[in-house]
């Protein structure tokens, strides 16, 4: 039984319940002398519909878990199953192939041993389907009947319906927690496995990065897993070069836009900056790789620097900085706007000029917010992937020369995972460990920054 059919059933029966209960409630309303029910008829409808649909859906979910087991048991009881190998991967494989063909999901089997099992599977699936359908119908009717009988003029259907609605809202908000957990789980386990193979100290403090996905996984060469060059590259590109571009330009843009620009200019430039922020990073990456990087290299060559790389950290950092400008400027914009107008008025009324007011009152007052914004911008820059994937290189150099190529954490994650490395090799798992470090660092930056921003907004509210 495909759950889809059960869902459709739930929908159909629910609708029937809704109509019936609503009609009944209308009848009661007409019959009552006050002309009023405790709840509107439609709430009675919803109440019954929920009592019909929810049990069926719950059953469908449950059934989709246990039905395969039932099918399997009955197939295993079939004589054709006697030939199956003992437990193990192979057995699972054969059974699942046979099932796939029986359900029509696959056209043929990979393993000939699966062929005789197809028919038993068909039969068993058919039987369980019928059972599932009958149980679902029974549940739906039972729930519906129970609810239908409770439809009375003074029954507060609305309260019940609203309560279930509230549960739905709560569940939706839990998705965020689940996602966070999902991230943690997917990173932590693989990271722990990685640290089982490569000790954290050589990973976090080693200075040579050259994982070899082909080397045997049993006894990895831990000296090749030193991530310091990656961390350095990430910081150098994202937190240093990009910020040198983004902070002054972003801050000054924000100041000009909020304090100086005539409204006419603001209405055009602000969306333009937003467009700059909305350009996909892959486009920036392409721009960096195609236009900026060669230009920088040529420029370096022309002043006689011969070892300039065409994937210089500078190219990636500059373009990343440009990408971050609107981000910094909108954060700065917000923070400056959050400074109460009274501060500005106070300063102007003292006879300060505009720039004095900005430099001496507005910016200092907005500083916590600006700093937090910069932290968010840094966290964004170090998590940025495509620009560096396209414009930086995979060479893990530990150098301070911006004209040389460097690599970053995100580049390495992509490099290590876009092959189909197996999940039990340290080179693959290293990507998760890197991801975990990246996650923790950005989390810390974001957490602190969001706290600061919030505190700071509250201070002025």
């Amino acid at each position: 039984m495909s759950p889809a059919i059960l869902f459709l059933l739930a929908l159909g029966l629910g609708l029937a319940g809704w109509l019936a209960a609503r009609a009944r409630a209308y009848g009661m309303r007409a019959a009552s002398d006050t002309g009023r029910l405790a709840s509107l008829p439609q709430y009675h409808g919803w109440y019954v519909a929920l009592w019909v649909a929810v049990p069926i859906v719950a059953f469908a979910v449950l059934w989709s878990i246990i039905a395969p087991q039932i099918v399997l048991n009955s197939v295993l009881a079939h004589p054709a199953a006697d030939a199956l190998p003992e437990f193990g991967f192979k057995r699972t494989q054969i059974l699942s192939e046979a099932r796939a063909v029986a359900t029509g999901a696959a056209q043929g089997v990979f393993d000939p041993m699966a062929r005789p099992l197809i028919e038993p599977f068909r039969g068993a699936i058919e039987r369980t389907n019928i059972i599932g359908l009958v149980v679902a119908l029974l549940l739906g009717f039972a729930g519906g009947a129970f609810a239908f009988l409770r439809v009375k003029p003074d029954f507060r259907a609305r309260t019940k319906v609203e309560r279930s609605m509230l549960v739905l809202l709560l569940l939706a908000s839990l998705v965020a927690i689940l996602t966070t957990l999902g991230i943690l789980v997917s990173l932590v386990f693989e990271t722990i496995r990685f640290f089982g193979m490569v000790d954290p100290v050589s990973f976090l403090f080693g200075t040579h990065w050259a994982p070899d996905p082909m080397a045997s996984a049993d006894n990895p060469d831990v000296t090749r897993y030193g991530a310091i060059p990656l961390f350095w590259g990430t910081i150098f590109i994202g937190a240093i070069i990009a910020m040198i571009v983004a902070i002054p330009l972003g801050l000054m843009s924000a100041i000009y836009l909020t304090q100086y620009a005539p409204p006419q200019v603001r209405t055009w430039v602000k969306p333009a900056l937003e467009v700059l922020a909305g350009v996909p990073t892959v486009v920036y990456g392409y721009f960096a790789a195609l236009t900026i990087a060669p230009a920088i290299r040529d420029m370096a060559m022309s002043v006689g620097i011969s070892n300039a790389s065409s994937e210089s950290a500078l190219a990636a950092g500059l373009v990343m900085g440009v990408m971050i400008i609107p981000f910094v400027s909108s954060m700065a914009d917000d923070s400056i706007a959050a400074v109460p107008g009274a501060m500005r008025d106070g300063s102007l009324a003292m006879g300060a000029t505009k720039s004095e007011t900005i430099k001496r009152v507005l910016v200092p007052a907005a500083l916590p917010g600006i700093v937090a914004g910069v932290m968010l911008a840094i966290s964004r820059a170090i998590g940025e992937t495509m620009i560096v994937v396209m414009a930086a290189s995979t060479a893990a150099n530990l150098t301070g020369n911006p004209l040389e190529s460097m690599t970053t954490v995100t580049v390495q994650i992509v490099a290590l995972l876009t092959g189909e490395g197996s999940f039990d090799h340290p080179a693959t798992l290293a990507a998760f460990a890197l991801g975990f470090v990246l996650f923790l660092v950005t989390l810390a930056l974001n957490f602190v920054a969001l706290r600061v921003v919030k505190k700071y907004r509250e201070a002025y509210e």
């Binding site: 991967f89 192939e97 056209q107 050259a210």
Partner: protein
Amino acid sequence: ACGSEGGGDTRNSIRAVGSSTVYPFAKAVSEAFARSNPDFGSPIIESTGTGGGIQLFCSGIGPSTPDMANASRRMKASEFETCQANGVTEIIELQVGLDGIAFASAQGGIDMNLTPEIVYRALAARPYGEEQTAKNWSDVDPSLPNKPILVYGPPSTSGTRDALKELVLEVGCEANPEMEAVKEADEDRYDQICTEVRSDGAYVDQGEQDNLIVQKITGNSDAVGVFGYSYLEENADRVQGLPMNGVDPTYENISNFEYPGARPLYVYVKKAHLDAIPGLKQYLAQWTTMWSKGGPLADIGLVASPEDTMARNQTAATQYTTIDGSELN
């Protein structure tokens, strides 16, 4: 893959993994196949490097494993054993054509006549067991230009790297008779001395992206790139092949194996998947229609196999004959 015993997973499109050298050919074949057979899903080809590809290929049969592995060298006996151990017992092998590992530089860039020995001495981590001191080509051989050694090449996962090791480095290494003795005495040490590539920046591993290597060397006229011949042909107007032992990497020289870097390219298929994956047979057939001399694959740089090899593989592709491990090494 699937947790519960007997869950019904399946897959409808062909999946192939492996060599970045074979990748463009596999892509072209898959494209022609997909357009001729719109009823089947488009095959998914991923470029993971030969070694990585075969490793995946040999991890078992079933929908969660790839159907084919592309390889820029022949499957090793050890890999074949892994396959066997994981239930991949019947493997169809097709030699789809030839390729050469080409050494190249930018058009008008650095030009040298290389030999395996020169390459070995320039790139080995410890040439003949001694400290690597060469910074410039002229340090290796005074007749070479006094330019820094900078070679962009494939990573260790790739078959091209294997070919570099096998066809060039080991040959260069064995030019020194002492190495024979080392090989006898200590196989591991021999491997280390003869095949390990220096990691001090003179050799830059460029990932599975031969295109990028081309880009690199066109950007830097002193750099040398190592990649498949097809890329050389494709970019003939901007890069030049460097002769090896005086032989240029050309179609002719590769197809008659005169060029030392010539090597065959392979595709491996799981026979067990032929029935289960719709279109797999047709996809194999598609290869045979395209690999001939002057055919579409030749247009993009594949060197056609010799006539007899081609005929043998034609049979394999239609009769589904499988290999036995004894002929591999």
